[in-house]
């Protein structure tokens, strides 16, 4: 089994790029320590109307959607039994683990009374109707599931360390007996909390722009877009790894994912426009204000992959696939940013634009994710073995 994957351990870890990422991450730690000493207001522009800024909207709402690669591939491989995509699953799981791990970290940093967080785990204290409770518990559980799903990779590495082989094999065989259940759980949980990220918008009511306030449809649109972003991130990351490490392209696999993405985007757009028509909101599309402008930019970004990937020739072209994936990632991210921040309007007197330290913290978390990802693929057998992927 272990001959399918390889660690890129023949490449140096401490490259200039890696060290730059670590330096940026360290800068974030400086500003975070200010936050813990002087309060959230000392490093952010949050206020009474905008209670959530980029720490919530990027780190959690967008960040976990970008971490949906593991989820999207698990559904494809294990529910729809498309085994040929299996070589992509480990890098996707690694990204998911990092995306979700940093989302949890971001949530903790943004939490104004973090020392009380344990109350979310006390059954007599929680409010079962709360979307925040669902997201909190579900994301926490999913991170554990991701750790379990990723552990075969670590065990494969461990068995090669002197003196650990027998133990690693014993754990692995125990794990294999239960892994199917954790894979199923790893499909259920993101379906739940990714839809809940949309449900947040319901209770925000009138503050959410009419074009984004889809009420009962919120969870469905959120989970569909997260799913699409998951596939797109797999293609995006795979393409970067191919170029960065000069590996064989995995275009033959990505073109299949491209087809799935087309179906999902089509469903998303049809449901969204149908809702706007039924709710009588089509007029707002032509209001020529910030809302309508952002909506059309989003729609163009969603539509681009749909149009480009319609041609089978483009689907076999690595570059076209990458462009389509980037467009899709931007579309899904913008959809979330627009709803929660750009067109979100709590009324006169309030405005929000992130403070520089706020941006630095978020950028530093992305840098830390990249650095950790490089460490993981250079240490553990995550990437498919060259001959295998090309086969």
């Amino acid at each position: 089994m272990n001959h399918h994957y390889q660690a890129l351990d023949n490449r140096p870890l401490f490259t200039p790029f890696f060290l730059t990422m670590v330096a940026i991450a360290a800068l974030g730690v400086v500003f975070l320590s200010i936050r813990f000493v002087s309060g959230i207001g000392s490093v952010t522009n949050l206020n009474g109307g905008y209670a959530w800024g980029i720490w919530v909207v990027y780190d959690i709402v967008v960040g976990t959607a970008l971490g949906c690669g593991g989820y999207a591939l698990a559904v494809t491989v294990y529910l729809f039994n498309k085994g040929k995509y299996h070589p992509l699953i480990r890098p996707a799981l690694a990204t998911s683990l990092l995306g979700y791990g940093f989302a949890a970290f971001g949530a903790f940093v943004d939490m104004g009374r973090y020392w009380n967080a344990y109350n979310m785990f006390l059954p007599w204290q929680v409010n079962p109707h709360s979307v925040m409770l669902e997201v909190g518990l579900c994301v926490a559980t999913y991170i554990l599931v991701l750790v379990i799903e990723f552990s075969p990779t670590v065990l494969e590495w461990l068995r090669k360390q002197t003196g650990w082989q027998i133990q690693a094999d014993a754990w692995r065989s125990r794990l294999d007996k239960a892994l199917f259940f954790f894979i199923a759980l790893g499909i259920l949980l993101p379906t739940m909390h990714q839809s809940s990220l949309g449900s947040f918008l319901i209770a925000m009511g009138w503050k959410v722009h009419p074009l984004w306030q889809t009420l009962h449809i919120q969870p469905l649109l959120a989970v569909l877009s997260a799913f699409t972003m998951g596939f797109a991130i797999v293609i995006f990351e795979g393409s970067l790894l191919t170029t960065g490490f000069k590996r064989h392209p995995e275009t033959h696999l990505f073109s299949g994912l491209g087809r799935i993405i087309m179906g999902l985007i089509a469903a998303f757009l049809v449901i969204r426009f149908a809702y706007l028509a039924v709710a009588g909101k089509l007029g707002a599309l032509f209001a020529f204000d910030l809302g309508s402008l952002m909506f059309w930019i989003e729609t163009a970004l969603f539509a681009y992959p749909l149009v480009v990937l319609a041609s089978p020739r483009a689907r076999e072209n690595g570059k076209q696939l990458l462009y389509a994936a980037v467009s899709m990632i931007l579309a899904g991210s913008l959809y979330r940013f627009d709803a929660f921040l750009v067109t979100f309007n709590p009324g006169t007197g309030y405005s929000y634009f992130p403070a520089l330290p706020e941006v630095i913290v978020t950028v530093s978390m992305i840098a830390a994710e990249i650095a950790l990802f490089l460490f993981i693929v250079k240490t553990f057998p995550v990437l498919p073995r060259e001959d295998h992927a090309a086969a």
Binding site: V37, S38, G39, I40, G41, L46, N47, G48, A51, Y78, L79, F80, N81, K82, G83, H86, A107, D110, M111, G112, R113, Y114, N116, N119, M120, Q125, N127, P128, H129, S130, V131, M132, E134, L179, F180, I183, A184, L185, I187, L188, T191, M192, S195, S199, F200, I202, A203, M204, G205, W206, K207, L215, H216, P219, L220, G263, G347, T348, G349, Y350
Partner: protein, 327 residues
Amino acid sequence: MDRRNFFKASLGGAVASAAAVASTVAHARPNLEPAPEAIGMLYDATLCVGCKACVSKCKQVNGMPPVPMDGNTYADFALDLSAQTLNVIKVHSDGKGAVKDALADGFCFEKRSCMHCVDPGCVSVCPVQALTRHPKTGIVSYNSDVCIGCRTCMTGCPYNVPQYDYNNAFGKIHKCQMCNQKGVERIDQGMMTGCAEACPTGATLFGTRTALLEEAKRRMALKPGDIYHYPRGDIRKPDSYHEKAVPQYQPTVWGEKEAGGTNVMHLSAVPYDKLGMPPLGERSFASISEGVQSTLYSYLALPAIALGGFTWLVKRNTEDDKKGGAE
């Protein structure tokens, strides 16, 4: 799985999600009803003279310092609700701002504090019951001992009332608790709220929601220009009355029905949106949100069924793979 099965499964997913959406709409819970002995206030903007005695009294009761302006603290210069201000008087002005309660070239006062919603968004969204609606009085209270500081209450409040103290490493949420929080307990002691007690014109009137709603409707039924004896303090036992000509009120009491209604209601001569009231229908967003959540998660039935199905599929498909020799 071949292509046909793939499409079958996709179709199944689409049908299931359509069914979930349909049943969410069907399951949505109605708005909550007012608490049986709901306590509230009626703010009549046409009676307010902008003296801010209520702001000052509120600070005194809640132990909060005045908001300075250019270092001056001879008055409270709070412009809006904040972690230092639970109650504020704002002024709306148009054109020359000469005539009180006139829409054109006029001005009008507006009191902002917690509306103590009948179906409170903050209570509905709070993950840990840090915000609660009292079962009898309907007062919406806050417990900082369990609050995790996620600030979802701020996003879920249609009036932007809860205010987190961003300038404190151990900040809390701050909101009006109708002078009945631990250590204050004015209502439990049979007193009225600080702001209603301090109000010299009866613009802020204290009482039960039922009595206040009756009073509001009585005022609205009067002929503009007629003299009315306006009560001060507690509607059930007013301290005194004063005579004033009845203005032309807006045709609705703000808070009778808006998003399920509020226990703190407003009367005004100018349209409520001019006073910064949000665009609300009768349906509370909390009720829609809870309807969706309970359809998807009641007794965790749907997730359990889904997990069962997923587990079966994953087990079957991983065994297929093992037989086929691939991982």
